[in-house]
Amino acid sequence: MGETILKMTNISKRFGGVAALSDVSMELSKGEVRALIGENGAGKSTLMKILLGIHQADAGEIEFDGHQVHFKEPKQALDAGISMIHQEISLIPTVDVAENIWMGREDKFTKMGWWIDQSRRYAATKELLDTLGIQVNPRTTVSLLSIAMMQLVELARAVSYDSKIIIMDEPTSALSAEEVELLFSIVRKLTNQGVTILFISHKIDEIFAICDSATVLRDGQYIGTHTLNEKIDNDSLIAMIVGRELSDIYNKVEIKPGKTVLEVKNLYSQSVFKDVSFSVRAGEIVGFSGLMGAGRSEIARALFGIDRYTSGEILIDGKSVRITSPEQAIQNGLAMVTEDRLRQGTIYKLSVMHNATLANLFRMVRLGFIDRKRENNAFAELSSQLSIKYGRKSDSINTLSGGNQQKVILGRWLLTNPKVLILDEPTRGIDIGSKSEIYKLINRLAAQGLAIIFISSELPEILGLCDKTYVVRNGKLVFECPRAEMTQELLAQHAFGL
């Protein structure tokens, strides 16, 4: 290994009221391959964005190659020698490979300061790709490439900056086994030249294969850094990633479940998920855990008719139903609180009351006219049941806090008197007070006989509320776990694939 190339000390960052990073420190040596591990929301992306200058830290210092640095924009970090391969492809699809790779650095190939010598650019690109062993024609338009090829082009671009540190965020997500090996060989080549690689990934087996050491973050805090040798094994790694104190704000009430309300058989959506089969009984809270992108929301959206699915059977109360739109889903007794409250939940121009009653208007009309008394009564009852705090019911919904907005959306679905309630990350971005109120509510609903599907990335919640949990990974249900056997480590193990 060798001398220190990067030293981040006591980095803290808040977004609004949430602490994304608290006092995180990390040190990297030249030529090291360091893994950065943690659950969703642990703070990995935030830390990297601060390093790159996309965000500015509230506190803490960064020392790079012996100097104090304070990047205010990505270009500064890039020029200094830090580049990143982002998780989302950031290539421009309408333009070719060569142009994408040298984007922003065209002056390397200009004649008289403005005419771009394309043949020189193509030649340089070909040379770069050949050195790395990547087989792509530099003249290909990016939109015609497979996602795997695009990821390799991104890799080539990062390498072309001659950076001292390359950050790779989930670089193998679309790569085949062969291509992963290619990536690894490129990484080894680079480290031999003294380049430091920071490898963000959920794939523990890959991390063990290529990385020298791993830093674990959890809930915005630095947990530890360990050299990856025989002394560290999967279990202790998992324990570091998830290990939390479990508090009892969940107040789980044991309920005897009724008969099966929802049964899903072999649900399949091409390239998204397959072999999804599960059942939920009345009064049961079924959890779906797994990493972000594993396919849980996709399954829920297909169930609710927001997205199409390719094949499979859905049975409600034993009767096979065909659901192709949310309208149909509601008519069949389903309700869903979507993951993205802002984009698919609240309608900010409508008032608090109107947002709450929206899905149930068809039961409150006479000859097309809304029965205002019924609407007002329904809302009054709902808002007291859920303890929604608002100014006036005619106020715009975005005057409410996040927690109260979520309660309104929850209320919207409860008003439809569903048989099955699907909750996708219902407590995301909500203060702890509102969270515990929502947990209480979920328990109450289960006691009333509702069948509840609870999707969450927060393992404590899953453990606190669910009667059984399915772990989803890569679009498949890989593990079913009854309440008695649930532990954070067990669920995380299956989520990461160990």
Binding site: G17, M336, K349, R412
Partner: protein
């Protein structure tokens, strides 16, 4: 922790929500000083009658806009419907009530054509209605063979030129339609669903609203208003002109924007649209009374639109930044 709206916010909201009405009052006061003729009953009724056609058009436009769509073909559809109506009455000797009914059905059909193309091929409304704008215009030319139709029976002219209890009939028709549309947008499930789609189409769909049905609904209702406007216009002018209606979608946009209906959809200020039309009407009337070159009226319309949009944007931004600060402050306190 919730962010309540303070008293000064309430006052400001009241002001902004009804700014068209306030501007009308303001302008009326000024103009009644500038010209002694202005505040006479006959002049006022004159103004309202003059804007009746564009108001009917604008009300239909408001419905479509509140769903997040726009219909740029309303102007030429207005002309086409007028020509259809005149031809039915004059050339085909169709009884007047039946002719009116057929015209309205024709208008609704044209509206549903827009909706059909938009929903089936998922092409943005801008291109579709721009294209149908041309189609309707061409259809008008073809139907009329560039010859206006005049000589319509007196019984028909009563609609546009007659008086009921001393008030011009077009004003009654206008008020009736305005009230109906207000009820539609504010008291019916359909209206509420339209606003939901306009406010957040994805969220509306997830909540079980059939967005396709809503698109058909708004374009058909908007076109119906256009059809009614065509009846009044043809009756008032006692003829169907070949170039009638061309460019009138701009009047509609002006009125709607000044009136306070958001360009991005999600709300419908029906009375605001009415006052918006009145403002345009008052400005034109005022310029006439003051003897100003009538070409300035065209400029005035553009200035009014800009003025209204600027006020809207500035107040929306300051409201948003205040809400943000409130949210950050209360989150920090938690």
């Amino acid at each position: 922790m919730n962010n309540t709206v303070s008293k000064s916010d309430t006052a400001r909201n009241l002001l902004m929500g009804n700014k068209a009405f306030i501007i009308v009052l303001f302008m009326s006061v000024i103009l009644s000083f500038a010209s002694p003729v202005f505040f006479g009953a006959s002049n006022i009724l004159n103004i309202i009658r003059q804007v009746s056609v564009s108001t009917l058009l604008s009300i239909g436009f408001t419905i479509v806009l509140s769903s997040g769509n726009m219909d740029l073909s309303v102007g030429t559809l207005l002309g086409l419907c007028g020509m259809v109506l005149a031809k039915l009455i004059k050339d085909f000797k169709v009884p007047i009530p039946l002719a009116i009914l057929i015209t309205l059905l024709f208008a609704i059909l044209c509206g549903s054509l827009n909706a059909l193309i938009i929903t089936t091929f998922r092409i943005p409304f801008f291109i579709v209605t721009l294209a149908t704008q041309s189609i309707f215009r061409g259809a008008n030319y073809l139907l009329s063979q560039l010859v206006p139709v005049a000589g319509l029976p007196d019984k028909f002219l009563y609609i546009g030129q007659g008086y009921l209890w001393g008030i011009p009939v077009p004003i009654f028709i206008m008020l009736l339609v305005v009230v109906c549309v207000w009820i539609l947008m504010n008291r019916t499930k359909f209206g509420r669903h339209i606003l939901a789609v306009g406010g957040n189409q994805e969220a509306a769909r997830v909540s079980g609203i059939n967005t396709k049905k809503i698109t058909y609904g708004v374009y058909m209702c908007g076109a119906l208003c256009t059809g009614i406007a065509a009846v009044v216009m043809t009756s008032r002018a006692a003829s169907a002109q070949v170039s009638a209606g061309i460019g009138m979608e701009m009047d509609a946009i002006a009125a709607v924007v000044i009136g306070g209906t958001s360009m991005s959809g999600g709300n419908a200020n029906v009375w605001g649209t009415v006052f918006g039309c009145l403002i345009v009407g008052i400005v034109n009337n005022g310029l006439n009374l003051l003897g100003v070159d009538s070409n300035w009226q065209v400029v005035a319309k553009g200035v009014l639109i800009l003025f209204a949009v600027i006020i809207d944007t500035v107040t929306a931004r300051s409201l948003a930044s205040r809400l943000n600060k409130q949210a950050a402050a209360s989150a920090g306190r938690e």
